[in-house]
Structure formats: C-alpha cells, structure tokens
C-alpha cells in the first residue's frame, strides 16, 4: 500500500500535503481500496471555510458512501474539477491526479499535531 512520505494523515484516511502556502487534500490509497470504485465526489463551494475535523463533502462508491473530513482548517481555494467527469481517478492516482481540494490553511502549526506521520499512519492501517 502506498503511503507517501511527504504527506500527513488523518484517522479518517485523508492525506494533506503542504506546498507553496497551500494544502492539497485527498483520500489515501487505503481509503480508495476499502471503498472500491469511486463513482461520485461531492465537493464544497470555492471560498467556503472548513474547520479541522469537519465534513466538507462526501465520496461515493457503488455501495458505500463516506464523509470527507478536513485534515486542517482553512479556506477552499480550488477543487479538482476532473473528479466531476472522472471520479475513478481517485482509484488510480489517489495522491496525485486524484487530489480533491486545495485549501489555504489558517492554523496549520497548531493543528499539525493532530495529524499522523506516514509511519504512524502505516501502523494505524496495519493495526
């Protein structure tokens, strides 16, 4: 199972990667494997704000649906419009083309401690 070293992780199986002051967020390889074929992703409106741990959308497979929880707080800068027509990209490339939202973090420094490192996430998923 793929757990990139440059991300932080949540217990709900989201990943977050910091780049140029923005945070890119998606679901992990483990999550897409559990869900199966992703058929729909409900995305939040641009400009809306999310709080760490809040649901900001849903991800649907054929016979499962899961809430998406914000790994950190911030403002939605961008959503991945590719998911509208090709949600299956999450199954193929969960960490790259299958990213879900970009947000502008507001309190990343204090919130980081609530997230898991790749090593911790690896232990968490194999437990």
């Amino acid at each position: 199972m793929n757990i990139p070293a440059n991300c932080l992780y949540t217990k709900e199986h989201e990943w977050v990667r910091l780049a140029d002051g923005a945070a890119v967020i998606g679901v992990t390889d483990f999550a897409q494997g559990e869900l199966g074929d992703v058929v729909f992703v409900q995305l939040p409106p641009l400009g809306s704000t999310v709080k760490q741990g809040d649901s900001f959308g849903t991800i649907e497979a054929v016979k499962a649906v899961a809430d998406l929880y914000a790994p950190i707080s911030g403002e939605i800068l961008e959503v991945n419009s590719v998911l509208d027509g090709s949600p299956e990209v999450i199954n193929r490339e969960p960490y790259t083309d299958g990213w879900i939202v970009k947000i502008k973090p507001t309190s990343i420094e204090t919130e980081k401690s609530n997230l898991m490192t790749p090593e911790q996430y690896k232990d968490f998923t194999s437990a």
Binding site: G36, D37, V39, F40, E60, A61, V62, K63, P87, E88
Partner: protein, 491 residues
Amino acid sequence: MKRNILALQSEMDMIFELSRNGRSGYQVPPTSDQLPEFEIPQELRRNAAPRLPEVSENTTVRHYVNLSTRNHHIDKDFYPLGSCTMKYNPKVNDEMSALPGFAGLNPWQTGATAQGAMQLMYELSDALLEVTGMDDITLQPAAGAQGEFAALLMFRAYHQKNGNPRKRIIIPDSAHGTNPASIILAGYAVTQLPSDSNGLMDTEALKRALDEDVAGLMITNPNTLGLFESNISKIIDLVHEAGGLVYMDGANLNALMGISRPGDMGFDACHMNLHKTFSTPHGGGGPGSGPVAIKEKLTRFLPVPVLTKTKAEFAWDWDRPDSIGSVHSFYGNFGMHVRALAYIKSMGGDGLRAISENAIINANYLRKKLSPAYQVFVDKPCMHEVVLSGNLQKQKGVRTTDIAKRLLDFGIHPPTVYFPLIVPECLMIEPTESESRETLDEFVEVMMQIDREASESPDLLKQAPYTTPVRRLDEAGAARNLNIRFYDDIR
C-alpha cells in the same frame, strides 16, 4: 444480428425501439357527437406528444412476456433471501383481490356502500392482533419502513403528551437500514449499540445508554442473525423503567406465529410485513403492506382514519384530536389486506403455528447440513433463518459475492449477502416453510459443490454467472455515467 443461439442471452430491445408511427394497442370508448368539445386555451394545450411507444397489443404482450423470462421468481425456484421471507404466494389470494366488489371500490365510499371492505379490514385486524398479542392496530402503512416511521411518530406523540418528546432512539448494530433512517425522519437521533459476543443485544451497554433523553428502543426479534433475544423481557423492562417505549421490527414474524407474541413480551408497538409473513406477492419490489399493532397506551395517537365497529355498522373515525395524522393518502394497500386475510383464512390459527414451526425446522436443517463447509456465525439453534460467514471461502480467495453469483448458474437465487453488517462475508439464509426437504437437500448439494469449486477453481467463481441473461454488470459505470431514461432530450 441481435439474436443469439441462446435466445435468453440475446440483447432485448426496449419498447421504445419497437415503436412505429401510427401503431396502437388501444381503442378509446366512444364519445357521442352530442357532447361538446373539450376546450382548453392554446397555451395550456400539449403540442409535442409524449414519446410513449406506438405498438400494437400483441407487440406489447410479446415484449413484456419475453422480458419476464429474464426474472428469477418464487414460482420458478428457491429464493432463500434472508429477512425477506420469500414464501409461496397462493393464487386464490390474487383472485380474491381482483373481485369487482373489492377492486372496483373508490376509497371515498363510506357507510352503506362499502361495509364489506371495512368488515374485511376489521377481520384482518382482529387476526393480526391475535398473532401479535397487541391491543390495537392500523393497517395504513404501505410498507414495513412506513410502519416503523408511523410507530415512531406515535412514540413521539406519546412523549410529547407527557411533556417532552425526548431526543434519542436506541438500535443494535445488527438493525435493518430502514431503522436508523426512520428514526432520523421522526426527528430523533440514533444511538447504535454493539451486539454482544452471542449476537444478541448487550444489556449492560443498554443500561449505560439509557437516560431520560431516550424515547425508545427499536429491536428486531428474532434478530437479523436469526436469534431470539433471550433477554427480551429484561431489555424491555429496562427501557420502560427509563420511561422509554419499545418497538419490535416485525420483519421476522414468520418465526413467531403461535410460538411467542410481541405483546406478551412487553413490546409497545410492532409492525408486520404482510408481503413477508402473510404471503402477499413481492411484485418485484412492492407493493408491500406494513400494519402496526400497538398497546392501548398508544391508541389515541393512531393514524386517522381509525376503523370502528358498532352494532349496526363499520365506520371510519376521523375525529381523533391526538392522532399523528395520516401516512397514506387512504387506508393503506387494501389489495394486500384482501390477500392477507384470504391467507389467514386458508391457514387458520393452527396453520399459522405450523408455518413458523416448519420455517424454523427448515432453517435449522440448513444450518446443520451446511456447517461442514461454511462457518455458522453463531452455532446454536436458530429461528427461521441462519446466518453464515464466507470466511473459510475467503481464505481460498473467493468472496461471498462470488458464491452468490455462482448460485445463479444453478438456478437458485442467492441468500441476502453482506447483511447484517456485523458478520464478515455474510450469507443470510431464510428458506421459509414453503420449501420441501428435497429442495433444501438440492440447495445443500449446490452449496457444497460451490465450496469445492472455491478450492479447485476459484477463478471460475469470480467470473460467474455464465448462464444468466446478462453476466456481471458494471455498476460503477452505471453510477458514473448516469443514464436513467431512453431519450436524451426533453420535449
């Protein structure tokens, strides 16, 4: 060429593809020339006709007869779908519901013109009250889920009358999905409790969850693992002591008739599925019927209208100020009421008990015969259904869904799969009393064969079925590229 040597596997046209201008399968009754024209302003007139098919009667009949052969159904073969009680649907019941004196009644007929219909509903009510041991009943809910919802509204009204509607309803984690959905719709929050190691309600967890915010408990008995909740009296006492009410999901009533009654157990309300326990046809997914029986303390909250009987006549009572309102436009699925009463008359009190006895024996017989190859989730005597896990087969690389699909090749409908959620690789088998010992033996043989195939040729199972009108379907594709009607445009 569309046709295939295996005709059943040819791709079927849609009725719209058979349409040709000017064809018709209908002739309207004549209208006398003396009658005025139907005058309607131009802007309210339909210009572009709806694109209904234009086909003759015989084309319609052939199309839908051919389509029908692509269904599995209870008159064809074994259908052990757990929790659904796929029993035989007696033919006389359908004929009775089609009698002009029932089928030709407008629901707003009351008083003298519909006494027979009301008598029928009254007789059915009486019989259902006897089976459940309850005090009062409404036949209005059109399905089990609606029965649940109606009962929860009565719970709410009851608590409201006592000053506080309360906030939460408790369910076990083995509950049907409709339970939590109904709870939310009735304005309550869901508290889900884990089952204990025997698959039963955990009374200690229940104690901890109970407080003055709890409006009630919903529980299926026998539960979705096919097990009777042995502590049910204690469970009900605990909830009552906390001021809550207790609801029995009656999906599994086929195990209890003449054997044990929800009313005697202490339940305040329960629904029955006439389309399960009382043999009304499932119709490809409906219509069902989900009457709710209640204890006297809830009578004042029953949906309106309430059927009443005086010496002289039956009548509908609308004047019920504490009623929750109505959950159906009329009195429920009357056509199902007719069938259910015909069934009860055919079976009689002794016959209803015999149904449950035979249903229980059949399930235990399968439990015993399948246990050499399949893991029985709780290996104790079960009630009317037995729950297996496909864990052993999973170790061979075969999932429960593969077992289910392989059964289709043998002409058998698979059991309910992946429910209850607490059982890994779940197979929930409800044979019902309708099946003979020989049918059960055949099913066991097939299941054993599939287990052998799982060891010897797992890939065979992963591609199954092979003999059905279509093979495995791309469900993800259907959800991603939504196509839910024949025409692309709107006219």
